[in-house]
C-alpha cells in the first residue's frame, strides 16, 4: 500500500468520523436518541473496521482518531468539546490496541461468530472507555475538579449503557466485513485522490460553517 494513499485514507475517513460526531451526533442528541452508543457502535467502529479491512494497515485508526478529534475541537456544540475531542482520540488508540493482535488480512473475522464477537467487544470497550475519559477530563478542565467518587458512583450506569453499543457493534462489524472483497488499490490514483480530497474538504467546510453559524446566532 502506497503511503500517500494511506494518508489520504486517514484524512478522508477521519474527517467523515469527525463530521458524524459534530453534525449527526448533535441531531441524534436533539432527537433524544442514545447518541453515544450509536456514534461509537456505528460510526467509530464501522469506519475503523472498514479502513482496517480496506487498507490492511494497523496504525491508521489512531490517525483517524486524531483527525476526527481535531475536527470535533473546532465545533463548539455540546459542552466540553475539548473533552469530546480527547475521547475520540482515545477511542482511536484503544481500537488500535484491541485489534493489534489480529492478522493483517483479518482472516479471523471471516467467521461470523468471530466478527460478531469482535464487534461486541470493540463497541463496548470503546464506549465505556470514551465515557470514562470524558467523565475524567471534563471536571479536570473546570474549577470544580475531578472527584473519583463521582466516577465510581456512576460506573454501573456507564457499564449498563455500554450494552446497547455492544449489541449494535455486534451487527456493525459483520456488516462492514462485506467490504473484504473490495480492493481499494484498484481505484485509479486520479479518481482516488480527487474523491477523497473532495469528501474530506466537504466534511471540514460543513463543520466550519456550522461553527460560524453557531457563533453568529
Amino acid at each position: 500500500m502506497e503511503k500517500k494513499r494511506m494518508i489520504a485514507g486517514i484524512i478522508l475517513f477521519g474527517s467523515i468520523w469527525g463530521f458524524s460526531e459534530c453534525i449527526i451526533g448533535s441531531y441524534l442528541r436533539d432527537a433524544g436518541l442514545p447518541a453515544g452508543a450509536i456514534m461509537t457502535a456505528i460510526f467509530a467502529i464501522g469506519l475503523m473496521t472498514a479502513t482496517r479491512i480496506l487498507y490492511k494497515q494497523p496504525g491508521m485508526q489512531l490517525g483517524m482518531g486524531v483527525v476526527a478529534g481535531t475536527l470535533r475541537l473546532i465545533n463548539p456544540f455540546t459542552g466540553c468539546f475539548i473533552c469530546s475531542a480527547i475521547a475520540i482520540m482515545a477511542e482511536g488508540a484503544i481500537f488500535e490496541l484491541m485489534w493489534y493482535h489480529m492478522s493483517r488480512d483479518l482472516s479471523e473475522i471471516k467467521k461470523l461468530k468471530l466478527s460478531i464477537s469482535m464487534g461486541i467487544i470493540s463497541a463496548y470497550v470503546l464506549y465505556v472507555a470514551g465515557f470514562i475519559v470524558t467523565q475524567i477530563t471534563t471536571p479536570l478542565l473546570t474549577s470544580a475538579g475531578f472527584h473519583f467518587s463521582d466516577l465510581l458512583s456512576f460506573l454501573p450506569q456507564i457499564l449498563s449503557r455500554g450494552l446497547l453499543a455492544a449489541l449494535i457493534g455486534g451487527i456493525t462489524v459483520p456488516a462492514v466485513s462485506a467490504l473484504r472483497n473490495f480492493d481499494i488499490s484498484s481505484i485509479s490514483a486520479k479518481r482516488y485522490y480527487t474523491t477523497s480530497t473532495s469528501i474530506a474538504a466537504l466534511c471540514w467546510i460543513v463543520v466550519i460553517l456550522n461553527t460560524l453559524f453557531f457563533l453568529g446566532a
Binding site: P76, T78, G79, C80, C83, H101, E108, K111, K113, L114, I116, S117, M118, I120, I121, Y124, V125, T134, Q135, T138, P139, T142, S143, A144, G145, H147, S149, D150, S153, F154, P156, Q157, L159, S160, G162, L163, A166, G170
Partner: protein, 134 residues
C-alpha cells in the same frame, strides 16, 4: 487457548457485565418522589422554593431559573459554607462534586435539575435526589 475460542468468550463476558450492570442499575435507582435530601435532611421541592431566593443563570444555550444553590445550602443550615465541597446526586446515581464558588453560580430548577453558569453541561445533574456536604 487460541483466539477463535478466547474472542467469543470475552464477548459473552462483556454482554454479561452489561446485562448485570443494567439489572443492578434498575434495582438501585432511587425513587423520584418530590423530596430532596440536603445534608441528611429531607425537603420537598415546594418547601425548597419557599425558603431560598430565586436566581436566573445565563449559559451558552439559554437562561435557566430556579433557586440559588448557595442560598439554599445556607437556609438549610450548612455551617461554614465555603469550607466544603458539595456532591449533587441524581436519581440514576449520576453525581458531580462542586465547590462553594460553583454553587454561587448554580441553581436548582423546579424540574429538579441543577444548572451552573460556570460549568459545562456535564455538571447538569437531572432528577436530583440529594445534595451532600463533604
Amino acid at each position: 487457548m487460541d483466539r477463535e475460542r478466547i474472542i467469543p468468550i470475552v464477548a459473552i463476558v462483556v454482554l454479561l457485565v452489561g446485562s448485570l450492570s443494567t439489572i443492578y442499575v434498575h434495582g438501585t435507582v432511587e425513587s423520584s418522589d418530590d423530596k430532596i435530601t440536603i445534608n441528611g435532611h429531607s425537603y420537598t421541592v415546594n418547601y425548597i422554593f419557599s425558603i431560598a431566593e430565586q436566581r436566573t443563570v445565563v449559559t451558552n444555550d439559554g437562561s435557566f431559573s430556579g433557586v440559588a444553590l448557595d442560598d439554599l445550602l445556607e437556609k438549610t443550615g450548612t455551617k461554614c459554607i465555603s469550607c466544603h465541597t458539595y456532591t449533587i446526586t441524581g436519581k440514576e446515581g449520576y453525581s458531580k462534586t462542586v465547590t462553594w464558588k460553583n454553587l454561587q453560580n448554580g441553581i436548582l430548577t423546579k424540574e429538579r435539575k441543577v444548572v451552573f453558569s460556570d460549568l459545562p453541561k456535564a455538571f447538569r445533574v437531572r432528577d436530583v435526589v440529594s445534595i451532600e456536604v463533604n
